[in-house]
Symmetry: C2
Subunit: 503 residues, 2 copies
């Protein structure tokens, strides 16, 4: 590219990034529409459009000329500002990856996913794993194949893990999960022989209208500006974002499980706070948005658990609001009763409803199955059996059917294998962030008690959110915390649940 | 293109059409999201994406190579099936048009509209025409300029009319509107000196939850399959469609105006029936979807008025459902009271709330203003004054403020000038379609009384809907009805309102 100047190359890069961001936006809106508003039978037409748009996006990113552009810009890296330098690095990585994926495979995979989503929804509703199995088989095959394109030098599952948490691998996770089990399993045994709090009042009827009101109030406490953050209703709650001024959270209301949507909203709200806190400068560039699934989950689970399930916040912020909206339902419940019920430990079937202590055991089940699906030692047909056996082994529960078993999560239908470990990592990052936060801010308990999250959000924004994807996840974490150490997490769990059950 | 075979040229055409349809789909979803779900402050990011996507769509359609493709295919027209031949014709027309519009202008216009929508919403809410005026000025300028690109041989306003109703022009409309006025104005005068029915019960509180239920029931009567037709809530009701298996209607609920949403749903439901009735073969081609705004409005207004406001349907289908949902509100109302109230003639301020008789007078106001804006004889700053004067002249009402005057409609903010006359044309096509329908089916009164729209929908589908955009609007109309004659409409109005008021 002898006729290129640095200025014109940078201009070409920025245009490429803006175009790519527009494709992300429309693919995101199609998917949001599918989950929140689209009539059930509309998916074939949307699949076609998703296929066309994904193909065009693929062509854009993998265009040969981009290879030359990145080469030229890399050669002139010292003439670029540091943001552009990092944009080149991220763009080049995506280019190399996409360039290795044949377009037909890429488009076929996107189109498959668009169908798989609808098939999974129906299969879950009808408890029909056999209907979903052929799709899961194809999704596993694609993932195995794509792993080789993502990183031909890594073991396939490691390559997939790196899509969600750059730098992560099976060796690290095996050790991490072993460490968690060493703490959780004996702690859980002790808890299970201790007296259990009553949580029956969490299952009384709380009409959806009131729950919607509660969502609004909690979003207000969290400082989620409704001008830039919408809320919609879906089967499976998630957060999606189009830029740092357009974030959508979703929730699902169960009339007889008021805590379910409540903590979904706080969890998704944590994701939204991260996205809304990214610096404007990254909008429309490759550095836009949260940097990894692990860091993202660290934020959502920070708000859900460290903030949302803390004694201070539950007793002083959540409970008064719940009681004001549903006075009859909670007339004879004290703040402490409510706190204990919210944190009741109960090995159970559904990950998204799990308590904070047993949550990671749910992740381990999925981690083991994913590893074996990808290395070929487990056939898709054997997933339900394996799932049920692991739930028995890790959580001591019997899975009654696949709707409450291996069909419960959307992730595999969405094409994501290697994503689940991020939830456990995110859970573990949180307490280490808290440790650093309290070094700077002192005890945050008064903030939680007052329902004033300003300082907490400010610290997270300053140290994490505003950087969007400028730093790699490991790099970002180490800038803030130094070396990752799961003991912050295990100590946090031990302290919290000892106080709740064993003192 | 000497190396082209007819087969490969047709393949290239079909791919172009599928890609274009995908852009239409995503631009439509962006716009639907904007009106139904997006947080208010999110429009700048959406404007950027709309700009990028419109630019790519423009490039796709106006690509020089398409010109060669159409030339080649036109030269081999006798080797094409009749559908492909028509696709070539429509594609070529769009190509010629788009090709004349400079890309920067096209993208700037789309981006402007994305902003203008948000500005208009706020201006209407705050009754602040001055805030919207700069946008309207630009929109008028663009329309005037684009008219020359659309058709350099026509007067600008005629060229704009042709975008919505191919073959229409000012001369025809002037005569048409004059003919309407000759009937409506004296009839209205007689009605206004006759006794007026009580319609106060239409303004009692009917909670929105019940109104939502009513929408669902009416959609069921209309045979709108919820599997393929969604309903959402917006400020200004509209229908949008992505293919013949994915149509969305919208409505707006006013707690103290139950008839407002009710007839919106029937009106938009009529649009939806048209789109859902298009043959599958046209999906993803240039012939997809209803052929013109006039024909579209003929369908929506057929259902809204000829079906929905008929005595048979109101008394036997609508009223029992309204009364079942709101028993206390309508305890002392008879079916005939309700029918008369629904059809009460009352010159008023708001087009979408207008009765069937005075409706076209609202259109004439807009028609006059549009003509003058485009020929330059009216400045944007003078629109409110002109609007108010015409409302006084045509409808005899005083406009209290611009929110209830020239800011009431979304169309100009959406970039559409020349669209409004379609409403009047559609209203006039309907009774002529009815005349032909009853030649084939006999009296449809029993169908209306039974709430069984099967035969009516079947006839419309057979004669109109299934053809999508295969025939030009005038051609389609003439195939069904022969020559257009507004007397079917004026006779229909005279008969209906004489029976209601003067017998």
């Amino acid at each position: 590219m002898p006729d290129l100047s640095v200025a014109s190359a940078v201009e070409a890069l920025k245009k490429l990034e803006a175009t790519s961001a527009a494709y992300d936006h429309v693919l995101g809106v199609l998917s949001l529409d599918a989950s929140t508003a689209a009539p059930k039978g509309s998916y074939p037409g949307r699949s076609l459009t998703t296929g066309v748009m994904s193909g065009l996006h693929y062509q854009l990113i993998s265009d040969e000329r981009n290879g030359q552009l990145y080469e030229y810009l890399s050669a002139h890296a010292d003439e670029l500002d540091e943001q552009t330098r990092r944009e080149v690095e991220v763009g080049k990585k995506n280019y190399d990856k996409m360039h290795r994926i044949p377009m037909e495979e890429y488009v076929a995979f996107r189109t498959l996913l668009s169908e798989a989503q609808a098939v999974w929804e129906k299969a879950k509703l009808e408890n029909d794993f056999a209907a979903f199995a052929p799709y899961l088989e194809k999704i596993v095959d694609y993932n195995r194949k794509f792993a080789g394109y993502y990183n031909p030098h890594m073991a396939p599952y490691d390559a997939l893990l790196n899509e969600y948490e750059e730098g992560m691998n099976t060796a690290t996770l095996d050790a991490f999960f072993a460490q968690l089990r060493e703490t959780i399993v004996p702690l859980l045994a002790k808890i299970q022989s201790a007296p259990q709090p009553d949580d029956s009042f969490l299952r009384v009827l709380c009409p959806v209208e009131g729950q919607r009101l509660l969502s609004g109030q909690i979003m207000e406490v969290m400082g989620l500006d409704r001008n830039y953050c919408g809320i919609a209703e879906t089967e499976h709650p998630f957060t999606t974002n189009f830029n740092n001024h357009d974030v959508r959270i979703t929730t699902h209301y169960y009339p007889e499980a008021v805590a379910s949507s409540l903590f979904s909203v706080i969890h998704e709200g944590g994701h939204a706070i991260y996205e809304l806190g990214c610096d404007d400068r990254y909008n429309g560039t490759f550095l836009y948005g949260g940097v990894s699934m692990g860091i993202h989950e660290s934020q959502s689970r920070f708000f859900e658990n460290i903030v949302g399930r803390s004694r201070e916040f539950v007793e002083n912020v959540i409970f008064p609001r719940v009681k004001a909206i549903f006075p009859a339902q909670f007339a004879s419940v004290s703040p402490l009763d409510f706190y204990r019920a919210i944190n009741r430990v109960q090995p159970s079937l559904i990950r998204t409803e799990a308590d904070e202590l047993t949550y990671c055991l749910h992740i381990m089940v999925r981690y083991e199955i994913e590893k074996q699906l990808i290395d070929g030692s487990l056939a898709v047909a054997d997933v339900p059996g394996k799932w049920n056996a692991l739930y028995r082994e890790y959580l001591g529960v019997d899975v009654p059917d696949d709707a409450h078993g291996c069909l419960q999560d959307v992730h595999w239908a969405g094409g994501s294998i290697g994503y689940f470990p991020s939830y456990a990592l995110g859970s573990a990052y949180g307490p280490q962030f808290l440790h650093e936060m309290e070094k700077d801010l002192g005890d945050i308990a008064p903030d939680l008690r007052a329902g004033d999250l300003t300082r907490i959000k400010g610290w997270l924004r300053e140290n994490i959110h505003r950087h969007a994807s400028f730093y790699k996840p490991g790099q970002l974490f180490e800038r803030v915390c130094g070396k990752f150490d799961a003991r912050y997490y295990t100590d946090y769990l031990t302290k919290k649940y000892t106080a709740l059950y064993l003192e």
